[in-house]
Homo-oligomer: 297 residues x 2
């Protein structure tokens, strides 16, 4: 698969991101319990696919990916807040995430709700105060606007609501797409768009990267559903077949496993087509795309 | 008391704000249940003291207060999200607010959490997309930064955490001040600061208005505590003495009722001193200050 370069890149940048996240929270003048709760979930880690997409997009424009660290931290704060709130007893009621007790199991529901609120709010402070040498006022304002849209009712929150409303129902392919495009797709897309905005990309580059990220997001979700059916429980970190057990609609259910694999391959191909159209050196973004298609967790 | 002008002003602007809030949510392309839940709590109304402070500050600079409508809507969204989350069973567990069932009693805990998240996120979209004729890119960026600080762990969320941690404990006056300066004071201050930023105020005007709002915020909270002891249950909308029943520290408890009244009067006087120093026509802000000192709910 030849992701040697990506592996090394990901390794280095995950560490830089972890430090950035910790520094950003530690510097806050606030009651210690809320900072501990924020850091606890930020450090639960995961694949950090969102920050990687931002770094790789900057790299495609020949910009030092390190310039993307605070913006990537802001995005990871939004992703983390959404996980904390999703895990709450009144939402998915999950006790474990990536093998660790969920935030509310450690800090209680009230602090978990507030830690989510705090991370969401702080993400906007962080992205609106990027150093001027990384982003002009106009650029920062664009980032704020696009991040709010990606995370809000027309994005991630709307997808989460649709997902909840769809539970226990047999959804159409269109409805399933709506959920995933909004619940995970819009924020994934924002990572790429944020890099393009920081690089002051042309409108056509922005459109092509945006289309790339759209297809990548769908591929990511289809592979998630396939792994839920066929994955190794130890590797994916949750029981195989939990979607079926939770009465969730999935791509294999609607399309059959074969159909879902074909749809995955179709999304990956379209994603790569749009990458080519940018005319940029998108090696890292292509490697991330291959990784999404073939990942085992 | 001579608040005839303020009354008429408040009446007109409350209506304009209500329309603005409804329009802003209605235009969203999102599942209807989340929009209903957002509108339900936005329309629960209340005194709209925060928007009024913004409008009155713009008026002091000779700017049409109507220019402040979207920014005021953003602030009211943040205030409303905080009420929805505070009322949740794992937080204050309130079934009623201003005589109406709380958001989670009507829509369920999950939608209530998401409606809060949605309002918080949307507030940043609204403030970062103010029409260019009301605010330049630099101005909008400043508004985003200050709003995030006022609402986050160094502001409202931090105050809420400190308030929760203080329950059932006997607090010092310093601790009680910390809670109120953060939990309600920072967002109240932001309303005035937002007006000053939109008006491109000088640094000294900004400092004086900021100090004014700091004292007004403390006055507001001291009067809240006094009303909890001495108010009319029908007028204040909750049982008299509920702070004592809920084991909350209050100013009258720490300072005696007489002492709290003296502290209120002291804060009001300081607030008015700073207003004078601005050299602006601050009639409306002064009337709001008088209203805070003498309000019965």
């Amino acid at each position: 698969m030849g992701t040697g370069f990506l592996d090394a890149f990901a390794q280095e940048y995950k560490q830089l991101l972890d430090s950035e996240l910790r520094l950003l929270v530690e510097r806050l003048d606030a009651p210690s319990i809320i900072k501990e709760s924020m850091i606890y979930s930020l450090e639960a880690g995961g694949k950090r696919i969102r920050p990687l997409l931002l770094f790789a997009t900057l790299d495609a424009f020949g910009i030092d990916p390190k310039n993307g660290l605070p913006a990537a931290a802001a995005i990871e704060m939004i992703h983390t807040y959404s996980l904390i709130h999703d895990d709450l007893p009144s939402m998915d009621n999950d006790d474990l995430r990536r093998g660790k007790p969920t935030n509310h199991k450690v800090f209680g529901d009230a602090v978990a709700i507030l830690a989510g609120d705090a991370l969401l709010t702080y993400s906007f402070e962080v992205i609106s105060t990027l150093p001027n040498e990384f982003a002009s006022a106009d650029t920062k304002l664009k980032l704020v606007i696009e991040m709010a849209r990606a995370a809000g009712t027309e994005g991630m929150v709307g997808g989460q609501v649709a997902d909840m409303e769809g539970e226990g129902k047999k959804l159409s392919l269109e409805e399933l797409d709506y959920i995933h495009i909004h619940k995970t797709g819009k924020l994934l897309k924002f990572c790429v768009v944020a890099g393009a905005i920081m690089a002051e990309a042309s409108q056509s580059q922005l459109d092509h990267l945006s289309a790339f990220a759209h297809h990548l997001g769908l591929a990511f979700q289809i592979q998630d559903d396939i792994l839920d059916l066929t994955g190794n429980q130890q590797v994916i970190g949750k029981p195989v077949g939990s979607d079926t057990a939770n009465d969730k609609s999935t791509y294999p259910q609607l399309l059959s496993l074969e159909g879902a694999r074909a749809a995955l391959s179709n999304q990956i191909n379209q994603a790569k087509e749009f990458l080519k159209k940018t005319g940029l050196n998108t090696n890292l973004l292509r490697e991330i795309t291959d990784l999404v298609a073939s990942r085992d967790h």
